[in-house]
Point group: C2
């Protein structure tokens, strides 16, 4: 897998970052400690800290700082905190092919454990008396985005009238904002110029948008459970994503209304989901989403042009490609 090679390339930096995550999750409350270790063992792609460390090195000729390691650890902690809470919210039983904390320990523990990861995120950011206000601003607006994005999505599922603009805000908030912060904080951590920090931000944002659009495409495309989650789950939850929005663009107002109505009624008529899915495929929704995805990948790669050539830059370019071509 593409990120194994990168992790091995990052070597000691990666190990030190991972150690920070592990030690910040240690606790003498055995139920908490054991659960945290299980979550860590189940892993995940660790894309966000990968972006963060690669960017820190790409901006500094390969020299990360203690701050670089803390921020990379913080983004991974935060990402996992939101997953733990998402699983409570959605009552999800399986994540990454393993039982969720929610499935294993129920509602009470999973809310608290998610809070604990959130708290340790803050601790990572706050530790060592940071002087740079930009870090606090980036993390707090990302944190706010994460909660607001999910709330907007939730609000929209009751009416099934999500517009493309709202869709973009949702995926920025729930995914791209954290990639943006991961990337921008990395640049700040090695004292990059304001211009490079902006480029890093741009890279992270576009990578995140591409990543989420690919997720939304896969939700339509997948016909097996290699994703570790049931197929077509977005539609069953009345979440309107880019493939459907793309397909809706090709039909007239009456047809649009009819399809949106079918989505809105999915709770009582689950058979609607398959109809809507076929509508998406028949009307080029997937291709439309793929075109947009490609656009964000290109933008992400373009924003790297300000950086000197390096192995790190090559990997960041590869990650943008991976976000579009991945199977998981």
């Amino acid at each position: 897998m593409v990120n194994c090679e990168m992790i091995s390339f990052l070597g000691e930096d990666w190990t030190r970052m991972t150690k920070r995550i592990e030690s910040s999750l240690e606790s003498d409350i055995s139920l908490l400690d054991k659960t945290n270790k299980t979550i860590l063992a189940n892993g995940g792609k660790k894309l966000r800290p990968l972006v963060s460390l690669l960017m820190a090195r790409a901006c500094s000729g390969g020299c990360v700082t203690n701050e670089s390691l803390d921020y990379a650890a913080a983004v991974e902690l935060l990402h996992n905190a939101t997953l733990i809470h998402d699983d409570v919210a959605d009552e999800s039983m399986v994540r990454r092919g393993a039982p969720t904390v929610y499935a294993s320990l129920g509602q009470t523990a999973s809310v608290l454990i998610g809070d604990f990861w959130l708290v340790q995120t803050m601790k990572c950011i706050l530790s060592g008396g940071r002087k740079d206000d930009r870090i606090a601003d980036l993390f707090s607006s990302t944190l706010r985005s994460l909660a607001e994005g999910e709330m907007l999505q939730l609000e929209k599922t009751t009416t099934a009238d999500t517009s493309e603009e709202e869709y973009l805000r949702i995926i920025y908030s729930k995914t791209a904002s954290l990639f943006e912060t991961a990337s921008a904080c990395a640049a700040i951590s090695v004292n990059a110029t304001e211009e490079i920090v902006e480029a890093a931000k741009e890279y992270g944002r576009n990578l995140g948008l591409a990543f989420q659009i690919k997720d939304d495409i896969m939700d339509y495309e997948s016909s097996d459970i290699s994703l570790g989650k049931p197929v077509g789950v977005d539609l069953m939850e009345k979440k309107i994503t880019l493939p459907l929005l793309g397909a809706l663009e090709t039909v007239n107002e009456d047809e649009k209304k009819e399809i949106r109505k079918k989505v809105a009624e999915i709770d009582s008529k689950p058979e609607n989901a398959e109809e809507v899915r076929q509508f998406v495929f028949a009307n080029g929704g997937i291709q439309c989403a793929k075109n947009r995805l490609r656009k964000y990948v290109d933008k992400a790669v373009e924003s790297l042009s300000i950086l000197p050539d390096s192995k790190e830059k090559e990997y960041l370019t590869a990650l943008a490609g991976f976000s579009a071509d991945r199977k998981i």
Copy 2:
């Protein structure tokens, strides 16, 4: 009510602090904005920001800083964040006599809204580029305490073998730690000496311990629903609190074992709860807890002796008394 007079005494400082809370909870996501306003309208006692502002003024001859207002707002935001998540965790339907967010909007929204309040807590602490590491340390260890305390309590409910030491750790973590931070940050916000900061910390900790012990006594004593929650809920959840621990101290090992067994089996034998409750009353458990409560109140008042006399100091003394004598 005692705190109405204090709030009116705090006047403009209170209004400005409240405004900070309100504006930090505004959102253009209407579901979120509306829910936040409802939570705010349902109020609560607002004891923590009261302690915070009174302490800031008591340490400074009546002059609060912008930091004082931010920290007071942050403790109230954090307290509410934990209540919102507690209600999801416990599936509670009623809080402060009104439906909980969980009851009104269900699991998904209430997890996210709790996260949002948690995030805004951080924003309040981080805003304005604070330079004092002590603030970050206090808040992050309180945040960690809150999650760990609940986890320890949860772990203990499965075996019903909580010791008094563990009980004290639980109530420190879930309640007293936040009072401690509210009080200590207030002193720091007005540049109090290290000695006064320590005294403020001591006051907050003992007040918080007293407050939680009173809560635990009321859970046994209440025979109406003026609390806004069903009576005897701790015992039904197999939470062993000070009144029961006090009563257990008066009997021999065999009887102890028997009572603990009765608690452990409450899920399948709910009738055990009334038996245990009667055991507590018959064996002086309530009186024992009241004695301990009084000890913490006295300690809290004692720690104020370092401060010059003022109306604020009088109110802080009154709050310690209130924590022991309150009916709600």
